[in-house]
Symmetry: C2
Subunit: 242 residues, 2 copies
């Protein structure tokens, strides 16, 4: 379990750890087939059934050793890393994370994507590892609700989506059109770029729809999690509300 | 300077510390009158003039002692805490932070508010101290661009704004109307509540416009910084874009 604290350890074993009772509940409800082990400390009670899983009762000190949080809530679940099973071309609302580096930003974007009705979040290979403890927690369970996966053939997949009718839009501070003046299409991909450097050059070189979120004040830019939310909810609003 | 690392120390002295060259540049440009001292380490060069301030050249170890960041960029500015000078009733776009607890969330909201053209961010007395190092950094300079202050007479001020024609809207997960079905008014206040408990009871008991951001997927809620951004940009969109 301690090996799963490093990225190499997680990918070597194909496993990661999710900490806490509320996230354990989400996994039991959404994808019990991915649960490898459950760890509980003595006296912890849950309102969901864990008897069908391989369970270990551990001491507080072992639990602290397994978990990254300082005060784990007495439960940790060891979960299988998922390979994508989604056929992206059948979807109509996808978010691409292009070299996102901050675990909290990635987690927040996945949570917002779940809320906004996005069906898949595709990560470039260089993006932050979403199976680290901080991202798992900051998704608040949403990484178990929607398809979230890394795509080695990142640009090729994007080109295929474009060829199949998706409008590929990307937030770019140098864009001339703003998000309220553009057509995101009936099938939409939103690309969100690196916190410091924005969308990668390879992606900008593709013929994609570059748009900017208007800035009225003196702020130079927006947090990428915030920018993602404004994009996703603008698309949701147009599709569903007016 | 070390005393300014605690909230009590900051308020006792009426001063706080802003770390790094880019934020120092913002302060020099936006509100040089609030600068009390500038600390630089040997060899640090800036593209802005600090000669008119009281400057101290310090060693790397002193700089590390002043700063919270592990690798300070060789510059820290000691800045006066500002009392509000804004006449809120003359404004038309205000954000209220009702017991926000997380420094990063507060910082992100202030940054987004600046971007969206909000004129003032009013904080309830129990909200997180925005003069802590993490919030100062996460506002990316925006706390020096717009009015941000604590209001002891929090609810009374809100009532006065309502009486003077503001529509007071608050994000509330139990609301029946969603944000796309409501009128935010020509003069708008947006209230954002505590990360765990939402809007406070005292505020919900006022006759305010309770609205929800629609959730399409299985997410139970949104991060408060994300929710704030969706509110603010929806108002900006209606006022300016269509």
């Amino acid at each position: 379990m301690k090996k799963l604290k490093s990225k190499a350890g997680r990918y070597g074993a194909g496993l990661f750890i999710a900490e806490g009772i509320s996230i354990a509940r989400e996994i039991v409800n959404c994808c019990p087939e991915r649960i490898k082990y459950v760890f509980v400390t003595e006296g912890v009670e849950t309102d969901f059934d864990i008897s069908s899983f391989e369970c270990f009762e551990v001491t507080d000190s072992v639990m602290e050793c397994i978990c990254e949080t300082k005060t784990p809530q007495g439960m940790a679940v060891c979960v299988e890393i998922k390979k994508s099973t989604a056929n992206l071309e059948e979807l109509d609302f996808i978010v691409y994370l292009d070299h996102i580096q901050d675990p909290g930003n990635a987690g927040t974007i996945i949570r917002t994507a779940d809320a906004a009705g996005v069906q898949a979040v595709v990560m470039s290979p260089e993006s932050v590892d979403i199976y680290n403890s901080k991202t798992v927690r900051s998704t608040m369970g949403s990484m178990f609700h929607i398809n979230v996966f890394y795509e080695d053939e990142y640009l090729e997949t994007l080109k295929a989506l474009k060829a199949s009718g998706f409008v590929i839009s990307a937030g770019d501070l140098s864009a001339e059109k703003n998000i309220y003046e553009t057509d995101f299409g009936e099938k939409s991909v939103i690309c969100l770029g690196n916190e410091a450097h924005g969308i990668s050059d390879e992606l900008l070189e593709m013929d994609i729809n570059k748009v900017i979120i208007p800035i009225e004040g003196k702020a130079e830019s927006l947090n990428v999690g915030v920018a993602g939310a404004i994009f996703m909810y603008e698309i949701l609003r147009r599709r569903k509300f007016k």
